[in-house]
């Protein structure tokens, strides 16, 4: 190609540079993830309550197809539900051994996320809590519930009735202002009583919840709901 003068040459170069710059801008940007993924940790269709504070219970998400892998954690909140905003694609969902209050299994659940997706995660717990009732009589909080052993390979460390000033109520330090524990309990009907005179007087809000700690597992199983006292 014969170029007539320097000005044209510069113009041509400029054009090429601009063209490259302008097109490259669109290439390396992804849209943000927009698919809502939600679900619950369930046993027999019933959500399991867990510790919802301190990032205690989580599921690991993995994705195949890349040379290097890194998992990311999706945290389970205290009513047993979890949610994440993801890119569409195929994910593998696993639990971490002895993290949640259920029997460790390395079963992988494959999930195809395509738009908003709902998928529960089935587990086999050690124990479940049922027929949970709370009542307040004067300054005494009473909770009654039934413990059902599902997989009794592990013992019950204790059951507890806790109250806290926020609706995060669990065994963690700072997530209960008062509690009573029974260290010697077997499956069946349990009743716990807690004197909440000071808590009623000092706290602006008060929530109650029961939980069961399993031997050798980091976390316990809880009531999936909380009971608002005031």
């Amino acid at each position: 190609m014969k170029v007539k003068n320097m000005k044209t040459l510069i113009k041509m170069h400029l054009f090429v540079i601009l063209a490259v710059l302008a097109t490259s801008c669109t290439k390396d940007n992804y849209d943000k993830p927009e698919s809502h993924f939600t679900g619950k940790v369930v046993y027999n269709g019933q959500a399991l309550g867990v510790r919802g504070s301190n990032g205690a219970v989580y599921l690991q998400f993995w994705q195949d197809g890349y040379e290097l892998k890194t998992s990311f954690n999706v945290y389970v909140t205290q009513d047993g539900s979890y949610s994440a905003i993801l890119f569409d694609g195929v994910y593998k969902l696993v639990t971490v051994s002895n993290n949640g209050p259920w029997v460790s299994s390395q079963d992988t659940v494959v999930i195809t996320v395509n738009g908003n997706t709902q998928k529960d995660y089935e587990v086999v717990p050690y124990y479940t809590l049922g027929n949970i009732n709370y009542s307040v009589n004067g300054n005494t909080l009473t909770a009654s519930f039934d413990i059902t052993g599902v997989t009794t390979t592990r013992n019950i460390e204790y059951v507890a009735l806790m109250v806290n000033k926020t609706n995060f109520v669990d065994f963690g330090d700072g997530t209960h202002v008062n509690w009573v524990r029974n260290m010697n309990v077997t499956p069946g009907h349990v009743e716990l009583q807690l004197d909440i005179t000071n808590d009623l007087a000092n706290q602006k809000a008060l929530y109650a919840r029961v939980g069961l700690k399993i031997d050798g597992v980091g976390e316990g199983v809880y009531d999936a709901g909380v009971y608002k006292i005031k």
Binding site: V3, N54, E67, L68, K69, T70, S71, V96, S97, N98, N99, G172, D173, G174, G216, V217, G218
Partner: protein
């Protein structure tokens, strides 16, 4: 345009012509194997580099690491909001160093090193293998069994099958076995005489035997006590050792200790008749004949900021002070001379009133002398300078004691001190003491050493004879040897501390003795893990004394109308303003997590429990 073409041709031809030697030049900054391995000074420098790369976890490099457990708290600035221990806390994974050590071992056996004296070659081979065993030991106590690569120097060339470079994890027992067998082998290569070893900075025969004893007693206690945490194991044995191996490991530990004891090269330090000062010198005076292996530092050039961080306000050399300070918990872990309960008698037995003391130090009278050697407490001294800790004044008003506090170092209208320079106070100001104590162990008396610019050349003791005695006592106890023998070891240590002898010893006594003898020496975390009691001691409950940091607040009574005017009283208080949460050791903390990145590179590596 023609001109440009000519110019381009010129440049291109120049570039190509210039290339011919350019890529083949000899580097002037990289030494060849021949240059290194034929020269003793070079070899020493290379070894020194390795010795300088093995300070992990609690060491003088990072003093605030001592505040993570129950020995100290963070005094400086805002509260320490840690709630649990990280899955990668103090994790060691250093195959880079192992590769370098294997290259070194290859080098000293190559033709380049043919001119070295055999004895010298044995020594440096022993040292390199000792450091390698130490690296493995540190990895093992973090993560359990890890790949053992032997003397292999890994090299990759294009197109080769990389799976041949990927070794699976060994079992925990296999890795301890490897460390033990390496120590046995190198004990014969290393020098025997400690006197030639400046500041115990290099490994000798006795360091190898101490590492052997320590590795064996770790393996033994894991084998014996793993039943307390039955889930802390893996199917392949990478974590967890079977109980039947415990006795053999205790035997190995016991025999290694006997060899050191009968070798007679080391004994407990005892030059200073003042037992408290003697204990400080035993650990902090370079040249102490009790010290078997230390990380030495030297001014100028090789110093730490540890003294600068730990120093008390009234004796500091710079603005920094009190970054971390000892807790009341560690102070009370020291017994009284004739009372095994070390709790400070701050209040009467029925808790109805204070106990009033004429001098602040009176509450510490008859304490284990090691308390003085470890901690600067109210009324003690720092290199002869009296140390005052006063949180404020108390006065009697309306039927109860009330307190008057001020900014640190202020006095009232009568000229009487309100709050001392050294605090303690509950503020989150920088450099103000929050716990009522300062550290003495590993803190340099030289005031210049606490300045930022200079730093301290205080050494960090990694192994000393007292540990040999304690391992001997523990192994003898677990092997069912006569109590007279067990007590014989532990009572040497208790005699030096000036406290009553024991006539029978249980594991609990060993746990207590090791806690105070080796406070701030990077033993506590590993000890509680191997005995499988860490999750009970640090149970995450703010109702538990062992999991929660406490402080001691001394007050002077200023109330001329009160009979106790001028006396000292003490409040034992939960340090919620500095350590907001109790220590919470969970079962997953017994072994660090395996990093996903390592698995990506080597899929044969399996994960740890709770991961």
């Amino acid at each position: 345009m023609k001109k440009i073409n000519i110019l381009l041709t010129g440049i291109i031809s120049l570039v190509f012509a210039g290339c011919s030697d350019f890529l083949d030049r000899k580097s002037e900054s990289i030494l060849s194997d021949e240059q290194v391995f034929s020269d003793q000074n070079m070899i020493t420098s290379v070894l020194a580099n390795y010795y300088g790369r093995i300070d992990w976890g609690q060491s003088l490099e990072r003093g605030d690491n001592f505040a993570i457990l129950d020995e100290a708290c963070i005094s400086n600035g805002g509260p320490d909001n840690r709630q649990d221990f990280g899955n990668d806390m103090w994790r060691v994974y250093d195959y880079t160093l192992i590769r370098h050590l294997n290259q070194f071992l290859q080098g000293i056996k190559s033709d380049a090193a043919a001119g070295l004296e055999p004895a010298y070659r044995n020594q440096i081979e022993g040292e390199a293998r000792f450091i390698r065993a130490w690296v493995y030991f540190n990895m093992c106590r973090c993560m359990g069994g890890m790949p053992i690569v032997g003397d292999e120097v890994f090299a990759y060339s294009g197109g080769m099958d990389i799976t041949t470079l990927q070794h699976p994890r060994s079992t925990e027992a296999e890795l301890y076995d490897y460390i033990i067998s390496e120590c046995t082998a190198i004990a014969g290569l290393l020098p025997d005489d400690p006197s030639a070893n400046t500041n115990a900075a290099r490994a000798n025969k006795w360091a190898a035997l101490t590492l052997k004893a320590r590795a064996a007693v770790y393996a033994a206690s894991i084998a014996k006590y793993n039943y307390l945490t039955p889930d802390v194991k893996t199917a392949g044995g990478e974590v967890g050792i079977q109980a039947s191996l415990a006795a053999g490991y205790y035997e190995t530990a016991y025999n290694a200790c006997r060899e050191i004891i009968t070798g007679g090269r080391y004994r407990l330090y005892g030059d200073n008749p003042d037992k408290g000062a003697n204990f400080y010198e035993a650990i902090c005076k370079k040249g102490s004949y009790e010290v078997i292996w230390a990380r030495d530092y030297h001014y100028p050039g090789n110093t730490t900021g540890f003294t600068n961080n730990a120093i008390a306000t009234s004796v500091r050399g710079d603005i920094d002070a009190n970054i971390f300070t000892p807790t009341l918990n560690i102070v009370e872990a020291f017994e009284y001379r004739n009372n095994r309960d070390g709790t400070l008698p701050a209040r009467t037995a029925d808790d109805s009133d204070y106990i009033y003391y004429d001098n602040a130090q009176d509450i510490f009278r008859d304490k284990d002398a090691r308390l003085y050697g470890t901690v600067v407490y109210p009324g003690s001294d720092f290199n002869g300078i009296p140390m005052t800790y006063q949180a404020g004044q108390k006065y009697w008003d309306g039927g109860e004691w009330k307190e008057r506090t001020s900014s640190t170092g202020s006095s009232d209208a009568d000229g009487d001190l309100i709050t001392a320079d050294n605090g303690p106070d509950k503020s989150s100001s920088q450099y103000i003491n929050n716990s009522g104590f300062n550290l003495r162990k590993f803190v340099d008396y030289n005031r210049d050493a606490s300045t930022r610019g200079r730093g301290s050349e205080m050494w960090f003791v990694r192994m000393r004879y007292a540990e040999v005695l304690m391992i001997a006592a523990e192994a003898a106890l677990e092997l069912g040897k006569p109590q007279t023998e067990v007590c014989g070891y532990i009572n040497q240590i208790r005699d030096r501390a000036g406290i009553q002898q024991l006539s029978s010893v249980t594991l609990d006594d060993i746990v207590r003795e090791r806690r105070v003898e080796f406070a701030f020496e990077n033993h506590r975390w590993w000890d509680l893990k191997r005995w499988r009691i860490a999750h009970q001691v640090w149970d995450g409950s703010s109702e538990s004394y062992s999991a929660t940091h406490y402080s001691l607040f001394p007050y002077r009574i200023k109330d001329p109308s009160h009979p106790q005017n001028g006396k000292w009283v003490f409040d034992r208080v939960k340090s919620t303003w500095t350590s907001a949460y109790p220590r919470y050791f969970q079962l997953r903390n017994y072994y660090n997590f395996i990093d996903q990145d390592w698995i990506n590179r080597n899929p044969k590596i399996v994960r740890n429990p709770y991961q």
